[in-house]
Structure formats: structure tokens, C-alpha cells
Amino acid sequence: MKTNRQADIQLHEDPRVILGVPLDAGDERIRDAYLQKVKEHPPDREPAEFERIRDAYEVLRDPRRRARHMFLSADPQAALVSLLPASSQERKFTGPDAWLAVLREK
């Protein structure tokens, strides 16, 4: 399970984005950002999000691993649709008319 999550991070998610740190962030800043995120998403309340944050920190905490991740995480073969952030899905309440129109359409 953990391996899968790490693979996900490597392929699809930028750990810097997860922790909210810029490219040139050093060890200290990365650690601060991690602790802040853990406060916001404690493991007892949001275990999945916490695991995601911890995995991101695991990638970034070691400078060499961080550097290698920077080069090797780029995946030119990944589906282009994966460029879209997951949060880009908005859902607006439009009232019943648009829905009913689909039902009436033959």
C-alpha cells in the first residue's frame, strides 16, 4: 500500500506542491512546512491526507533523494489528462431545467 502511494507521488504529484514549498526551499523550510501541514491534517482525523503529506516529506527530507526526484519524477509518457489537477472539478447547482432537458431529449 505504501509502495503504491509512493509511486503515485513520484509519478503524478509534486511533493513540493503537497507541502506548499517553493523549488529552492531548504531543509528547514521543508520541515516547517511539513509540521504545519501535519497540524492542519492530523493523522487521527485525516489519515489518508496525513499519509500523503508524510510521503511527500519522505521524498523531500533527504537532499539527494529530493534532487533525484526533481530529475526523475518527470514522466513524459504520462497521459496528458494527468496534467489536470484533481481539484479542478467544479460542480455547480444549476436547477432542474438543464437536467430535465436531457430527459426530454430523444
Binding site: L80, V81, R91, P96, L103
Partner: protein, 863 residues
Amino acid sequence: MKYKQQTKLPSPPVHRTGPIPQEEDVRALLAKGKTKPAVELAREIHKRCGGPESEALLVDAYAARIRSLLKTGLKEEAKALFELVRKRYRSAAARFADVGVLVSASSGNLEELLRPLNDPALLPEIRRAIEEVIKSQVCDLSALAECPSLTADHPLRTAAAALLGAFAAVTVGPVEQSALVLPEVSHRGPLASWKILVRAIAYFFEQDDAASERCLGIIDPDSPPARLIPALRTMLRASTDKRLTPAAESLVSQVCGSKVSFRRALQALDAALEARVQEKILTEIQRAIAACDLACPELLERLRQHISVRALQLDLPTRKVRAALGGASLKNAYFWRLYARSVESSREPIEPLICAQWEQFRRHAVAEGWFREKSPEAAALYLHMAERLLELPGDLLERLSSKLAEHFSGFQAFYEDQPPLIQEVEAKYKKVDFYFLSPSHLFERACTMDPHREAFEQWLNWARQESDGRAADYVAECWHRALPLNSQPLLYLMESAEKRGALNRASAFLAQAQKLDAVNAEVRRAALRLLVAQTGRHLRQSKPHLVERDVAALEALPQAQLADRPAFVVALRWASAVIGGDAELASRFFGQIGRLLGSSAAASLLCENAGAFGGLARADFDRHVPQVSLDPPESLVAATARVCVLGDDVGVPFTIPTAWHARLWQELANAHGKLESRQVEMLGKAALRTNQKELAYAASAAGLELGADQEARFLLLRARALPEWEFDRREDCIAATVELGRRRRDMSIINEAMELRRGRRNRMSSFFDWLDLENWNEFSMTTEQIHAVLQREKHARAFPKDRHARFHVPFRETVFLDDDELENDDEPSALDDTNQLVPEMGQPRGKRPKRVHRDLPGQGDLF
């Protein structure tokens, strides 16, 4: 035609009861949906029989015919036929009940359709037929809720009204769970699918996509609510191949904005890229770019870069791609990283060119602030580039690098139409520095910027294999200077000095290493080996007094007292006695060795190797060692293996007399479980030193029997023992060894396997010999593949003799595909820029057929 012929059979009308002739034929035609010939045949039958049974059959055929007409939209014809049949046949009234409902419904008159429901004595089949029509045809809930032909409190009206309210509520805002219970709507009633639809929409807005999808899965696909499924699935991001209707498109756009359209455009582009059809790709690129511009303009540049790299991979014409993109993509660090990774993962990577691409990335990354010029990140990049170069055989790397340096003038073509900021970065590096073609330079930069043990280890390993001793010494010295607390460089320097015969210098390095970490196993072992080497040198120089001193020092080492090492020390004394001509003393030492090892054969073998190590002539050995019977009561293979382990222990490469070969081979074949794995492995390695490959092969067979823990080691031994021409088998064994080593985190076995492969590759004669080794840099194997290799090798116990009678199927098969599926284009390809840079690399590859791999037993991806 067939049934028409059947219907024309002349038969007189006979009124009778009982089974009707040809009834089954009519029913069969109806079952097949052939209602018209069924009616004709039923009429013929009724004309002949004229009874109530034949009339019932005919009415049934008419009923099916009317349903068929309604289905095809011929409402008027259906209605006329219905009226005609109802008037003509008395039995039709009862049998036509449900057809009547359908005919009424076809007129669109809901009131007329529902009116019978007020009748408490309504026949159940008519009620069912009406409900079926409601279930499958009624899409206007408000009309149902307000239908005047039903009483106001009729359950259908109340259910429709409740659904209408709930539908409006879930599409206007969040609703409580209680609002979705809808007790007015029976889950068995005709409006059950509506109830599920309302829940699906509510879950959709709650972002509970799984629950929403579950609901969609149980909606009756023939009911009107099912019309919303494609739109909802699109919004749930589940891929759908169905084209949406205009109303559904409008709904998706209103609810999810333009991002869903963008997502769909990207999915279509992904599919086109997968299909590799040029025109389709170009069209979808345009659509995706337009959709991105509308929905996520902030992603536009990144999308362009990804598309550019994919187009380069597919060798699509640059100008057309650029036109479809609406301009050139930005050639910044992000692009170069993506491009380098793309070429790295291609089937025919050109390592020097990849390093040139990584250099471009480095320049832009530094300029854009990804990392500093001298930083751990830059060091990691240099290491990565060096690792790439190490994939090539040394002489090939040299040739390719010199060609690249000769022809390569940079990536200017990529910088056309780039913003000044990007061009400035490129302009800053006017003079091309080809440092990136030299592993030595790359390692040095990496180790200077971020000195750490792993980097120095890699550098030293490379220097040991590729360069002379001085280069490796230089690396070890750099390592020692950078990380003075590491003992490894000192041990290497000790070994190097020892090889050069500079034993005093070697001792000095050892002393430094001992000062750092005297209890380190490697240091202790090095101390033993150095003393042994020193003793050997003094033996060869015939200096018995110095030998005596060395042996005394050896005996004083605690590590010299372990295992069979005391026997080796005595063997050195034996050699010294022989050199000194003291036959009696030599005989005494020989007897002592025999007692220590518990075998005269082992003593003989140890003395032979110790003598060779000390420079003894063969005649001296023969004079002082009794002839060993090759048929001793004890196991010869056990004695030999024990001595081979001892040789490895003290750092002296022992060999096995060729005269022992047959006996050892025979015993090995029957040695099931009698030998330890290290003994078998050392025996095999000793056999290889005198090129006794059959014996080494037999050792690998015996080792593979020992169980899972040792499989990697014995697969590697098998790879070494195979004849040169067993190329595929050796490749498989090495790849399986590496993968097993990876899984067991055994770096030493991985390194050995890599060295074996690299060493063999260095013997390749030409560029194309090397290229023929498809996938040579791909070691990864699945568990099934490893198992297949292991099974094959375990079963192949006999040494392969005949080159032409190869008994196995190569584990990786190579098949050829032609390139027809890729459309040709007269325009220069996007990759031509690159190919022109290195003509000697680019042109011949263009002529080579596409080669793809297929993994047995299942077929893998072709590209």
C-alpha cells in the same frame, strides 16, 4: 422466401380442436421478431383450421405485429390494425388488453393511458402493461403529477410529485439525507429508476462519486432516467465513449464549466497519440489547446511542452505540430527535463546526447532558480549523467563522444521563436564544453559539490574498471581528502600499492585504516590479506627469514586463528621449508595440514596452491607432496571445496588440478545437500580460473538445488560457466540475478552481475553488435519471468555442448514490425534536428527495422 413457400401449401379447411399444425413455426417466427411472416402463416393456419385455438394464435401474431409497428414509430398503422383485429376477432378483446394500452400510449395522451388505473376491477395484465409504459416512456414527471384522469391522492401522482420536488431540491443545493428517502416512491413501482436517479445526482453534488456511480449502475437502462447516465458519468470523470447529446453537453458545461470539455479533449488527444495516426493527432492537438485556453489558460504552456515532447517521440513533423500548438513550446528547464527523460526511456537511447540534454536542463534550471550552480542538486544531476554514460562500453563511449564533439554545435534549432529570457540562457554558454561526455569529469564535479560515500564508491568502481590504476588511485586520494574518516579509500590505496609491490606503502595505508576503525571487518580482513601477500612476496624472493617473520606476525593476528586459516599459515611454513630444502620439516608440516583439514587430498591441494603462490617449481611440489589417490575414501569434492573457501578467505586465488575434473564432476552430480553453498560457489569460481567451465557449470547446477536464498549467486555462476555462444541464456541469468539481488537488497551480487555484463559488453566489436543487444540496459524482470529462468536453468543440468542444437527458447524474443502505421511526411521530422547533430548515429538507425520485444509467455507492449 422459405416461409412464403411454406404458407402456400394447399390444404382444405378443417374445423378441429387440439394441437394446431405449424403453431411452433409461428411461435418461432415471433420469437425471432419476424412478425409479418408470422401473421401470414397464422392466417393460413386459421384459414385451414378455423378453430378458437388457431384464432388465438392469429391474434397473438397480430399483437406482436402491432407492438412491432409501434416500436418502429408507425403509430397510425398500428392503431388501424389494432381496431381492425379487435372488431374482427371476438377473442381479441381479452388477448389485446396490453396492446390496447400501448396503442393508447402511442398517441401521447397520458390521461387516456392512465384513466383505466382508476378502475378497481382492472385486469392485472392491463395494470402491468400501463405501469410498464410509465416505466419505460414517461419522462415528464410534472405531467404525471398533475394528470387529471387520476384522483389527486392516487399513489402515482403523489410519487411523481414527491420525485419532482426532490429532483428540484438536489439540483438547486445540498439536501439532507432524509430528503432522499422518498417513501412515496416504491422501489418496485414504475418510478423506481427516478428515485435512484435523484440519489445519484445528490451524491454527485456531495462529491461522493463512488455512491453516485453505484446508483447509476442500477438504473434501468431502458427507463427515461437512464438518458442522464452518460452526462453524469462524464461529469464523474469516468471515461465514456458515447458522444453526448446537445442537451447533455449543455448540462455538463453548465454544471462543470469548461474543464470537463478540456478533460475530454485531453482524453481524445491521449487516444490519438496512442493510435499514432498523424492527422488525428494534429486535429486533437488543436482541440486540446483551444479547450485548455478556455478552461485552464494557466496550464497552456505546460501542455504545449508535453505535447512537443510526445511529438518528438513520435517523430511528427515539427512545423505541423508547431502550427497545431499555435506556436513553439517554451524551451525552459521543464521542457529539457521532460525531453531528456523521454529520450532516456526510448528504445534506442543515445547516452552522450541524453547527457547533452541534461546539460541544457542544468543551465536553464540554474537560471530559473531550481537549484544553485554548485549544490547537492547539481551534484545529483552530474551523478545521474555519469550513470547514463556508464551504460555504454568504454570504447563505444569514446567513439560516440568524439563524434558528438566533432559534429555537435548545440541545440540552436530548438531556440527559434523563444522569448529573450530563454535565448539569453543559451547565449551565455557560447563555447561548447563537452565535460558531460566524460564520466571522470562528471564524477569529479559531483563529488566536489556533494562529497559522499556512495558517489565516491561509484567513481572509484568506474575508475577501477575503465582506467589504469593511477586514475583509481587519484579517485581514492580525492575520496580520502574529502572524507578522511572513511576507511574504504585507504583500503583501496593499500590494495593498489600492494599490487604495485609497494608493500611498505600498503602497510602505511593499512595502519591509517586501522587507526580509523581497527575493528572493522574489512580492515581486519585487509590486514590478513596484506600480510599474506607480503609472505608470498618473500617466498618468491626466497627469503626464509622474512617469511618466518611474516608468518609469526600472521599467527599473532586473531583473525588468522579463525576457520581453516591456521592450515594456510602452516602451508606457508611448508612452502618455506621446501624452499629451504628441509624435506623432513616439509613432511611434518604436510602431515599437520592433513590433520587440520582432515584430508590428505585437501592438504595436497592447499600445498599445491600455497607453493604456486610462493613461486615453487612444480618439481619441488612433486618431490615434497605424496601422490594423492583420485579415489580416496573421503569425498574429494568436499575436500576441494573446503580448500577453495580457504583460498577466498585469505585472498589467494586457488585453482583446481585439471586431473581432478572428472572425479569432481561426478561427485558434484551426486552431492545433493552435502556441500554448503559457499563451498560450491568457491569451487565453481576456482574451476573458472583454469577455464574448467563444465565443472563450474556442474557447481552452478548443484548450487541451484540448494534453495531460494542462494539462487542469485548460482545463476551468476551459471552465467559465467556458459559457453560464449550461449548469449541469450547468459543475458537471462544476469538479468534474473540482478532482479533477485534487488529484491534481497544484496548490492554485492548486483555489482558482480553488472560488472560481468559490462565486461562482456566491452568485448563487443562494433556499434551495431552492441545495438543488437536490445534492452540490454533493462534488467527488470517480473516474478514469473525470474521463475521461468530459474526453472529452465535448474532443469538444464547438462553442459551445453552443441552450438547448433540449442535446446531452449531465448527468454526474450525479438520480433520485427514495419513502420507502415506511422505515416510518412516529406517535412523534416521534429527529431531530425537531433539526428543531424550526430549524423553517424542518426543515419544508420533510420535504416534499421523497428525492433520490439515480446516477453514470454504473454505478449507485452509493442512500443
